[in-house]
Structure formats: structure tokens, C-alpha cells
Symmetry: C2
Subunit: 340 residues, 2 copies
């Protein structure tokens, strides 16, 4: 079917091994032979069978990436960050979605490991820790991205969610807000907790009581945000005097849903209530009003993770000393937050 080393060897009357070494620029093959081999390989259209060389070298030249949902721009930008760094190498990427489901996450990981990937990037769905056991047992370098397992020591890259929460609180406080609603993702997700902690930390600096912040949890989706905000609004005794003047949303998705709920009650953003999102989705400047939000720089997270991965692969680092990289988020000022 396709051209193999043997075909080239036969063509030139040399051994397969010589061809193999010539193509890999090994020093003990004569320059003339090397050139001849390469020319012949090119002429015959030889392509290396990577699976075969994997058997011997145990280097598959593949990396796996598992994310909750590639349709979420946060993760697709992370993917491209990783890909960008990989493009300079010859690594190819496998992608899998966990859909936030631990079983799917495990299944996808198993598949990738069976294929012999040289490393794994994982944004964990955080609903169990089985995937870590898998990764550890597989004895493969891996980088955990964005969400952290408590107590787990591993190479890890994330946006500084604490700082993001802090920034959000600071921004709202400076606009004069003193009562807040935090619509969070479930608190078992580390970033939800971290953002909360950062948010509270700033307020504490300003001597605000904890009771200044109400917390509600929902799925980080538009529907989730819509439902929880609607419920909250329904429970308000007086729509002209809300129990919070600003809503801090776990994601821009949630904020979109919150927008819809607010519109349903004929309230205005930011006149009646301010809304701040998180993630800076590509379209959040197109919403009405344009959404103030926090950019986590997912592309940078991806690039940083990939660099870490290659450091591990190249053995520049792997001896049990785990590195954690934290990337500072950016406040993006738009029109959905205003003076009280």
C-alpha cells in the first residue's frame, strides 16, 4: 500500500536500518548516503508510520486535551493557545469533551491513554477525582487547567480567580454599590469558590459585613442564569428597592440569562441594577447593554500550559516538583455597570 523504509532500502540496495538512520540525520551515516536516502524518500512519497515508531520509542507524538465543552469560547481559545505552541513541534492533538460528566471524562481519558498520548491537558469537570487516578496510573505528564482539585499536587495553570473576584468587588464598590448578589457556579468548582473568596476579601477590606452578599448557585449557562435570577426577582418584596444593587455573575453566559430575567421584570441595566460577567466572551461587547466583565485570557492559559507540558516532556522538569502558574485576569469596562 504505502511506502515503507523497506521500499526505500530495496530501491537503493541498502539496509532498512541505514534508511531509518539517514532519515533521522544520525551522524554515523555518510553524507552521500543520507542525501540519496532523503531524495529517494521524497521521490517515492515516503511518510513515516508514527504508530510503528511509537512501539519502539513509546513516543506517540500525540497530546490529548479534555475540556467540558469546546463550544464554550473559553475552552476553544485555550485549545488554540495550546495548538499554537504545538504547531512549532510535530505534536498532533486529540480533543474530547466531557460535557461536565465524570463518566464521559473518564471514558475520553481512557481512550486517549490507550492511544498512547504523550501527555494530557485536562480541564476537569470536578465531579469526581477518578480522572486523576487514571492520569497518575498512566504515568503520563499532564497539566490541569483552570479548575483545581483540593489537596492535589499537579502541574496546574489557571486564571487568578481570587483576583478576578477581587477586581469585580472593587469595581462595583467604587461605583457605590454596597449590596450584592453573587450568582455562582456550584461551589465544588474551585474557580467558583476562589472568585467568591476574592470578592469577599475586598469587601472585608472595606469593612462590609458578609451579609452584604447574597449567594445563589446555578449551572453556568444562560438558562441557569435566567432561572435563578427570575426566582430571585420574584422573591423581592419591592422591585423599586432591590435587596442587591449589583449582580456578579459566574460567567458571561449566566449574565446573558440574568439580562433576560431582568428584562422580563421591566427593569433596566445598569439604571436599576448593575451586572458584571466573567470570561469576556467574544460577543459580550455586542450585548445590550455591552457587558462589563472579566477577561481570563484563555489563550494565554493554553500557551502557558503547553509550555509546561513540553518542559515535562523534555524532562526539564518532572521530578515531583509541581509548578503552578497563575495568570492575572483583566477587568473589561463596558456599560452594564453604573453608579448607584
Amino acid at each position: 500500500m504505502s511506502i515503507t523504509l523497506k521500499d526505500i532500502a530495496d530501491e537503493l540496495g541498502v539496509s532498512v536500518n541505514t534508511v531509518s538512520r539517514a532519515l533521522r540525520n544520525m551522524p554515523d551515516i555518510g553524507q552521500e548516503t543520507t542525501n540519496l536516502v532523503k531524495e529517494t524518500a521524497a521521490r517515492l512519497g515516503y511518510r513515516k508510520n508514527l504508530a510503528a515508531s511509537y512501539l519502539k520509542t513509546t513516543k506517540s507524538m500525540m497530546l490529548g486535551i479534555v475540556v467540558p465543552d469546546i463550544c464554550n469560547p473559553v475552552f476553544s481559545y485555550m485549545y488554540k493557545g495550546i495548538e499554537k505552541v504545538c504547531a512549532e513541534t510535530n505534536y498532533t492533538l486529540m480533543l474530547g469533551n466531557s460535557n461536565g460528566n465524570p463518566d464521559e471524562e473518564s471514558a475520553v481519558l481512557s481512550n486517549m491513554l490507550d492511544h498512547g498520548v504523550d501527555g494530557i491537558f485536562l480541564v476537569p469537570c470536578m465531579k469526581n477525582t477518578q480522572s486523576h487516578a487514571q492520569l497518575e496510573n498512566a504515568n503520563v505528564p499532564y497539566v490541569i487547567m483552570q479548575r483545581k482539585f483540593p489537596g492535589l499536587s499537579a502541574n496546574f495553570v489557571q486564571s487568578n480567580d481570587y483576583e478576578g473576584g477581587y477586581l469585580a468587588a472593587q469595581h462595583l464598590y467604587q461605583l457605590g454599590h454596597r449590596s450584592f448578589l453573587y450568582i455562582s457556579a456550584p461551589m465544588y468548582i474551585s474557580s467558583a469558590r476562589d472568585r467568591y473568596d476574592g470578592f469577599m476579601a475586598y469587601l472585608k477590606e472595606k469593612d462590609l459585613a458578609e451579609s452584604a452578599v447574597q449567594i445563589l448557585e446555578c449551572d453556568s449557562t444562560r438558562t441557569g442564569g435566567y432561572k435563578i435570577a427570575r426566582k430571585w426577582l420574584e422573591q423581592q418584596t419591592d422591585l423599586n428597592s432591590l435587596s442587591a444593587t449589583a449582580i456578579f455573575c459566574f460567567s458571561d453566559y449566566v449574565a446573558y440569562g440574568v439580562y433576560s430575567a431582568i428584562a422580563k421584570f421591566h427593569l433596566r441595566v445598569p439604571e436599576d441594577i448593575s451586572v458584571i460577567g466573567y470570561d469576556n466572551n467574544e460577543y459580550s461587547d455586542m450585548t445590550f447593554p455591552a457587558l462589563t466583565t472579566i477577561d481570563i485570557l484563555p489563550n494565554k492559559i493554553g500557551r502557558q500550559s503547553a509550555k509546561m507540558m513540553f518542559d515535562m516532556i523534555d524532562k526539564k522538569a518532572d521530578n515531583g516538583t509541581h509548578i503552578e502558574a497563575v495568570i492575572s485576569p483583566k477587568l473589561i469596562l463596558r456599560d452594564s455597570t453604573g453608579q448607584i
Copy 2:
């Protein structure tokens, strides 16, 4: 390192081959032995080395997907459609972005083929036909998605762009519009051409002259849309009497840019000019005004493509008879188009 067939064989005192056949439920292995082998494999945590079995079977259990940009929701939803169908099998997916660049497209394809993928899904960047030669030479089943090479015969799935253009024209015409601007992607992209043809076809039915439609080309990005729309607006002799009352945009991205340009000139959508997009991005109902657009059902395109792929892989179809699937788009009515 990891458990192999040999480990199981040694443990049980049988041959490697027996283990291999037992695990694959071959009939010539005794039931007792089969059970024993399976138990032992489970106990030892055996995982098949897929690369090794690929060498002999030439089935890698991997499929490759190449798209222009996974950050574009159209393509990420296609990806998930494909993945959805693959989840029922044991296929794992490789993903690569071409970034609209033929060289990157070729490089990514080569990488995937070197890894021995059993099939390729390609949304071509349309700037050359080299990738097709690659695919043909590789002798691997492939499905071309969404964009069609003229004269090429291959399995192909796309949204019916002609119909989409037709729907857009119909909608605008029925609102009373008689002069149009089509902001297109470059016409070498088949879908740009098809949408144009459909658009014109409807207008022709209504006896409108070709001159009723102005055409401008730009990259299918927000910036592209913004620049071209701004230029067009600058060239208008009278902003109170525009030379077109409705803009048909190649994508929602372009429409967002167009929105910005229109806002810059202090015109209103849809009072001063109607805008219709294409793709129905996830957020297009959140824009202001909410964007009327055409949904191409990318998830369905993905699922359909995957089914085609498995038909080819299972040899239900491959003997030169190429199938083309066309999926009807849907008009999504929102607020950016209005009566003239």
C-alpha cells in the same frame, strides 16, 4: 511498564495468542479460558495498545477533523455533532485548525495521515486544492463539509446555502425592501457564491433587476464587516436615503461589525436599515437589536457527516458513488429586520 498480553499469558500459562483471541471473543477459545483471561486482564488492569494493533490491522480507531477555526461556533458545533456519533463507537478524534491557511491545512492533514487516521472530516479553507490530492493519495475515506470544491466528486455534507440566500431575500422582500447590499465572503468560497445565487434567484422571481443588489466582499470577521460597511456608508451621498435599505451579511460575525459601523454613523437598525446575518451564533439573540439570521444547524451537519463516514468505513458505501447530503437552513426571525 504497563500490562501487555504477555503478562496475562504468563500469569495463566497460556499463549499470547490465546489471550488476544479470548479478549476479542473469538470462537475458537473455550468459554472457561475466555472468562479466565478476561478476569485476569481486568484484575491486572490491562489496556490494549492501540498503536500495536494498528500495525497489523491498519485500523487506528482515530478520525481527524480539520476546520478553519474551532473558536467559530459554527465549527465547534459541527465538531460536537461528529463527536456525538463517534461516542457510540470507540473512535477518538484528532482536531486541527487551518486558520484559513492552505499551508497549515496541508500540514495538519499530513500529520493526521501519518498517525494513520481511519478517516478525515474537512472543512476546506478553499484557497487551494492540494488537500484533496493529499486525501486521495492517502486512500482514506473522507467527508468534505460545508464548502465545496468545484468539479470535485467526494462525499459531501453542507447546509443548503442556495436555500439560505433564497430565504433571506424572501424575508427582506416581503418586508418591502427592494434595494440590497450583500456583504459576502470572498466568492471563491462556495457557500458565498451559493448564497448569492439563492438570493438573486428569489429576486429574479419577483422581476427585480440585478442592479438591485450591490455586492461587497470582506473576510468573514467582525473587523471585516465593520470596515467594509463603514466604507460603504462613507460613500453614500445621502445618509437619509441610502442606496440599499437592507444588508444581507455572510455571517453573524460580519453583521456584528456592520452593526458597529451603522452605530458610528448614528443610524438605527432596523428603522434606517435592516440587517440579516447568517449562522445563528449562540449570542445573536443577545445583540442589540437581536439579530435576524439564518441557522445552518451545524450540529446536524456534523452528525450527518459522521454517519457518512461510518458508512464508508463499514463499506456500506465506497465504490466511487459519492453521496451529497444537503441540510435545509432555518430563518430565525428577530428584531434587526423591519418594514421599509
